[in-house]
C-alpha cells in the first residue's frame, strides 16, 4: 500500500512541477501570441484592400458574421472583408477574403491552417520568382506571394466556381491565367485536392449569402 502511495506521489509531484512551468510559460507568452495573431490579421487586411483604403471594423448581424471590415476611400465603399472558416483535411482553415462592390474577390490570405506540411499546407506557400542562381548573384530579393490565394483575385463569388486539376497556377502562362479568371476557374494544389476544395467550399457556402445581405437581398 505504502509503495502505491509513494509511486502516486512521485508522479503527482512531477505533474505539479510541469504544470507550474507550463502555466508560467503560457502566461509570459500569451500576450505575445495574441499580438502576433492581431498583427497577422492586420497585415492580411491591408493586403486584401487596395492600398490607401481606410479599414473600418464593423459589427454584423446575422446572416452577416459578427465581425467584418468595410474598406472606405473617402465617401465611397471599396469593398468588404470577412474571416471565412472551412474544414480542411485535418482541422479548420481560417482565411480572410475580401470582395468588391460587384462581388469579385479582391484578395485572400490564410490566417491559420493545420494541413499536411508539404501538401495541403502549400495553400499558403510563398513563391518567389527569383531562382537560386539569381539569389547567389546578389540583388534585392523580391518578396514571395501566396500563389494559391493570388489566383482567386477577380473571381466572382456570385457565379459557379470551377476547379482545374491540370497544372498549378504558378506554372501557367499569363494568357491562360487571364482565361482562368475570366471563366471563374482556379487551379488545385497537386496532391492536396481536399485542402483546395475546403477553401473553395468556404467561399461558396458563405460569400453569396453575405454579399446578398450587404446589398439588400438582390444579387
Amino acid at each position: 500500500m505504502s509503495e502505491t502511495i509513494k509511486l502516486a506521489l512521485a508522479l503527482a509531484l512531477v505533474c505539479v512541477f510541469s504544470g507550474i512551468i507550463i502555466s508560467f510559460t503560457h502566461s509570459s507568452t500569451a500576450q505575445k501570441i495574441e499580438a502576433q495573431k492581431l498583427r497577422e490579421q492586420r497585415s492580411a487586411l491591408s493586403q486584401v484592400f487596395a492600398p490607401g483604403a481606410r479599414i473600418v471594423d464593423t459589427v454584423g448581424t446575422p446572416p452577416l458574421p459578427r465581425q467584418y471590415w468595410i474598406g472606405r476611400n473617402g465617401p465611397s465603399t471599396t469593398g468588404y472583408a470577412f474571416v471565412v472558416e472551412s474544414r480542411g483535411y485535418f482541422g479548420i482553415i481560417r482565411y480572410i477574403a475580401g470582395i468588391d462592390e460587384q462581388g469579385r474577390i479582391m484578395g485572400m490570405k490564410i490566417l491559420s491552417q493545420s494541413e499536411t506540411p508539404g501538401l495541403g499546407a502549400r495553400v499558403e506557400e510563398l513563391v518567389s520568382e527569383k531562382s537560386l542562381w539569381n539569389a547567389f548573384g546578389g540583388g534585392v530579393r523580391k518578396n514571395g506571394y501566396q500563389w494559391f490565394m493570388e489566383q482567386f483575385k477577380g473571381i466572382s463569388v456570385n457565379k459557379p466556381l470551377y476547379v482545374s486539376t491540370a497544372l498549378e497556377w504558378r506554372f501557367l502562362p499569363e494568357k491562360i491565367k487571364k482565361e482562368f479568371t475570366g471563366s471563374n476557374t482556379v487551379s488545385a494544389i497537386t496532391g492536396a485536392t481536399v485542402s483546395t476544395r475546403a477553401i473553395i467550399a468556404g467561399l461558396e457556402k458563405n460569400l453569396p449569402t453575405w454579399y446578398a445581405a450587404l446589398h439588400g437581398g438582390k444579387l
Binding site: K6, L7, A10, L11, V14, C15, S18, I21, I22, T25, H26, T29, K32, I33, Q36, E40, F90, S112, Q113, S114, E115, T116, P117, G118, L119, A121, E124, L126, S128, E129, K130, S131, L132, N134, A135, G144, F171, T190, G191
Partner: protein, 199 residues
C-alpha cells in the same frame, strides 16, 4: 570531449542513419530545408532540456513510474517549445503545424531518456542531448535538401532550375521513404566497406 560526443551523435549514433529512430517526423517534415532547420532546432531544445532534467531527477524517480515521469517532463519541454515558437516564429510554427506537439512521441527523445539520461550525470546527459539532437537536425537537413530539390525544384524556397517541372513523388511521403532508404543504403555501404578494410 565535446567534439567526440558530437561525432558520436552525428556519425556512429546518428538517430536516423544509424539507429533508425524518429523516422516518422523525418519523413513528414523533410519537405523543405527551412522546415528541417526549424524542426531540428526544436528537437535539440527538447532533447537537451529533457535529458538535463531527467538526469537530475534520475535517482529520485521510482523505477516503476519512470516512463510516465519522463513523458511528462518531455511533454513540458515540447509545450514550452511550441509556445515559444508561436510567440517568436509564428510562420515557422504554421509550416511545422502538428509535428511540433508530436515531438512528445518522437522515439529518439524517450530512447535517450531511458538509455542515457537515466544512467548518466547531468553534464554528460546535456552533451548527449546536444550531440544526438545535432545528428537528428543534420540528417533532416540532408534529407530535406534532396527532397526539396527533386520534389519541388527549390532550395531554401528558391527555384533551382527555372522552368523545370519537379518530380512530385519526392514531395510526398513515399518520396520521403525513397530518399531515406537511398541515403541509408549509401551510409551502410560505406560503413561495410570500411569494416572490411579494417579486418
Amino acid at each position: 570531449m565535446i567534439s567526440e560526443e558530437l561525432k558520436r551523435g552525428i556519425v556512429s549514433e546518428n538517430p536516423i542513419f544509424a539507429l533508425a529512430l524518429g523516422l516518422c517526423p523525418a519523413v513528414a517534415i523533410s519537405t523543405s530545408v527551412i522546415n528541417a532547420f526549424g524542426m531540428g532546432a526544436a528537437v535539440i531544445f527538447v532533447l537537451t532540456g529533457s535529458n538535463i532534467i531527467i538526469s537530475f531527477v534520475r535517482k529520485w524517480v521510482p523505477d516503476k513510474v519512470r516512463i510516465p515521469c519522463f513523458i511528462t517532463i518531455i511533454a513540458t519541454f515540447v509545450t514550452i517549445a511550441d509556445l515559444l515558437m508561436k510567440a517568436y516564429a509564428p510562420l515557422l510554427n504554421r509550416q511545422l503545424g502538428i509535428f511540433v506537439p508530436l515531438i512528445v512521441v518522437n522515439c529518439i527523445i524517450l530512447a535517450r531518456a531511458e538509455s542515457y539520461a537515466s544512467q548518466n550525470n547531468v553534464r554528460k546527459s546535456a552533451l548527449d542531448g546536444i550531440a544526438i539532437g545535432c545528428g537528428f537536425a543534420l540528417s533532416l537537413v540532408v534529407i530535406a535538401a534532396v527532397r526539396e530539390v527533386l520534389g519541388s525544384n527549390r532550395l531554401f524556397g528558391l527555384t533551382v532550375v527555372p522552368g523545370f517541372r519537379p518530380m512530385l513523388v519526392f514531395a510526398i511521403a513515399p518520396g520521403g521513404f525513397f530518399t531515406i532508404a537511398a541515403l541509408l543504403a549509401l551510409v551502410n555501404y560505406r560503413r561495410l566497406k570500411k569494416d572490411k578494410n579494417n579486418l
